[in-house]
């Protein structure tokens, strides 16, 4: 039987494209009548361009990217919406061995504690400035990325001004480990497997992780060309159901081996399957002999990972304002909030009778422990969702949040 819906999608070789990849390769898309064609791209700019001209109907995107498009912050922007999130967490901050040795000498421990690591890093940054040496250089994957914002958030909370005291550059994910090994950068924030790549090569040390800076925090999403979504609501709904089943399959520990083998193939990541086990298990080799299991390191499905919370969109927006990428206005804020579309997610999944959050936004950082929440039909567990500095993000009080000037944690 011919598929009912033809959908073209783009992705970047990162592990968190897994839900899209498995939807096609394990057959969830076909089961929903969707013929899903996947094209691997080499840059987020290509993804954006090919969405804009209609080569792709939707794509694997950085969570803030569709917001930046709708705010007109990028060339060739087109109206893009987010009806599905591809997972929570999954990134790390990796530093060079030299830098880690210095941080360890100033109290950093191989426990991924952001506050302790940040404090040690701050001492080194100031030592370097006092010695009149060039500032340290950290890399992220894109200016409009969770990586850029969580790196800056972490540093600022540790009393480091990321705009003045270090240099932040852009490096494509697969090149991070090489840039670190060659000494072109001192550290980077990227998704897996590009942190474990440096650890395995013996050239880097994981200093902290996204899941510690902000627990169960948003990362990649499915960005959909708005014009296409409006024209093909049934195809989009069918795909969202396929992605839901795919995400559930990806989260199931019983499928780890098969998923690692799939994502390791040359047409997807082209790495050894063993390099994909850290993100699948949350058990990370940190560098040297240090190892640690991180709770909720990467969630492709659990804790309502696929729900496009408006509070996530709004937090990204506050970071764009905070770091000077866009001016704050009621109109900009509304554009950001309306980019994420929980209504479309809910409408597509309702027939499945699965647990769905009842609210469109939540207070981020309010849950200190895993908490069952009321939802339509079935039980749902959210959180813990805290920021490491203990701050709370209330999407109804954005002006107060943006008014904060002193972000540094009290030093103790």
């Amino acid at each position: 039987m011919a598929a009912e819906h033809q959908i073209n999608a783009g992705f970047i070789p990162l592990f968190d494209s897994a839900v899209l990849v498995a939807a096609r390769e394990i057959g969830f898309a076909a089961r929903e009548g969707v013929d899903l064609t996947l094209s691997r791209e080499t840059s987020w700019a290509n993804i954006r361009d090919r969405i804009a001209i209609g080569h792709f109907d939707l794509a694997h995107m950085l969570g803030p990217m569709p917001i930046a498009c709708n705010l007109g912050l990028t060339p060739l922007a087109s109206d893009t919406i987010v009806p599905f999130s591809l997972g929570l967490g999954g990134n790390c901050v990796t530093v060079s061995n030299t830098l880690w040795t210095g941080m360890a000498a100033h109290g950093a421990l191989p426990d991924l504690d952001p506050a302790r690591a940040g404090k040690a890093l701050g001492v080194l940054i100031r030592e370097r400035a006092n010695a009149g040496r060039e500032p340290m250089r950290f890399a992220v994957v894109h200016p409009h990325s969770g990586h850029n914002y969580e790196l800056r958030y972490w540093l600022a909370a540790c009393g480091i001004d990321p705009s003045r005291e270090i240099e932040i550059v852009i490096v494509p994910p697969p090149f991070m480990a090489d840039a670190l090994a060659a000494g072109r950068i001192d550290g980077y924030c990227v998704g897996e497997p590009w942190n474990s790549a440096s650890v395995v090569a013996g050239t880097g040390h994981i200093a902290t992780v996204k899941a510690a800076i902000w627990k169960t925090s948003p990362e990649k999403v499915v960005g959909v060309r708005k014009a296409w979504a409006e024209k093909h609501p049934e195809a989009l709904s069918a795909l969202l159901r396929a992605l839901h089943h795919s995400a559930r399959w990806c989260q199931d520990p019983a499928n780890r081996g098969e998923l690692a083998a799939l994502m390791a193939q040359p047409s997807f990541l082209g790495v050894s399957p063993a390099l994909l086990m850290p993100i699948l298990t949350g058990h990370l080799a940190l560098g040297g002999v240090a190892e640690l299991s991180v709770e909720d390191f990467f969630l492709p499905f659990g804790k309502a990972a696929n729900f496009p919370w408006k509070s996530h969109a709004l937090w990204f927006y506050t970071q764009m304002v905070r770091w000077g990428q866009v001016k704050h206005s009621a109109a900009h804020m509304a554009l950001a909030r309306d980019t994420y579309r929980p209504d479309l997610y809910r409408a597509a999944l309702k027939p499945l009778g699965v647990a769905l959050p009842g609210a469109n936004a939540k207070v981020e950082g309010a849950l200190t422990a895993a908490t069952p929440v009321g939802s339509a039909g079935a039980s749902l567990v959210l959180g813990p969702d805290g920021f490491f500095d203990g701050r709370i993000f209330d999407p109804d009080r954005i002006d107060d949040y943006l008014a904060i000037r002193d972000w540094a944690m009290p030093t103790g």
């Binding site: 840059s43 700019a45 290509n46 990028t74 894109h142 852009i170």
Partner: protein, 199 residues
């Protein structure tokens, strides 16, 4: 009035394609053309060259880095925008389909840049066509080699003439709805397994 000719920077890791673009630009009267294959240290190069137009291939994974750099006027003295921003939809599609993109200094008039992008698009397309033809010629040659080996195996093991061996391969391919070269490859592989001396 003679206008200063535009300074063009071509960023392309593919040396052959870059030369083709460069030649095209020079033929069109653009004398100030710089070609860069490696983006290491690109910020300094851009500051030195001060290009009016930057042409880059879309396969380059460093596009995100470059775009970020263009938006920081500290590095690049003049803000650089994406040309296709202000171009017509047809040009945008043609550029992306050809696999090329261009960035221009803000304020540069479109009619001065369009011929450069059009030229880049046509040269990129010509290059892809050439690469495709080369690839086809290469695989045709390999197909022929493997078919010759398969024929040889059939001639020896079943005492067929060359024509009869080929007819058998073709008939099998038609029956199985596969290419002759695939059947030939299967036969060569099987023969190799059965008799390591054969292949």
């Amino acid at each position: 009035m003679i206008r200063k000719s535009l300074t063009v920077l071509v960023i392309d890791e593919n040396h052959i394609r870059a030369s083709i673009i460069e030649a095209g630009l020079r033929e069109a009267g653009h004398e100030q053309v710089t070609v860069v294959h490696d983006v290491a240290g690109i910020a300094r190069r851009i500051a030195e060259i001060e290009p009016d137009v930057i042409v880059i291939d879309l396969e380059n994974p460093n596009r995100d880095m470059l775009e970020n750099m263009f938006q920081l006027s500290r590095v690049v003295k003049r803000p650089i925008a994406m040309f296709v921003d202000r171009s017509d939809q047809a040009s945008i599609e043609a550029a992306v389909e050809a696999g090329v993109s261009a960035y221009v200094v803000d304020g540069l008039r479109q009619e001065r840049v369009k011929p450069i992008l059009d030229m880049a698009i046509s040269r990129f397309n010509a290059f892809s066509r050439m690469a495709r033809e080369l690839e086809e010629a290469r695989s045709e040659l390999e197909d022929r080699k493997v078919i010759d080996r398969a024929k040889g195996i059939l001639m020896r093991s079943r005492g067929l003439s060359e024509d009869a061996a080929y007819t058998l391969l073709r008939k099998t391919a038609m029956n199985q709805n596969r290419k002759i070269s695939e059947i030939a490859q299967s036969l060569v592989t099987a023969a190799g397994l059965l008799d390591p001396g054969e292949s």
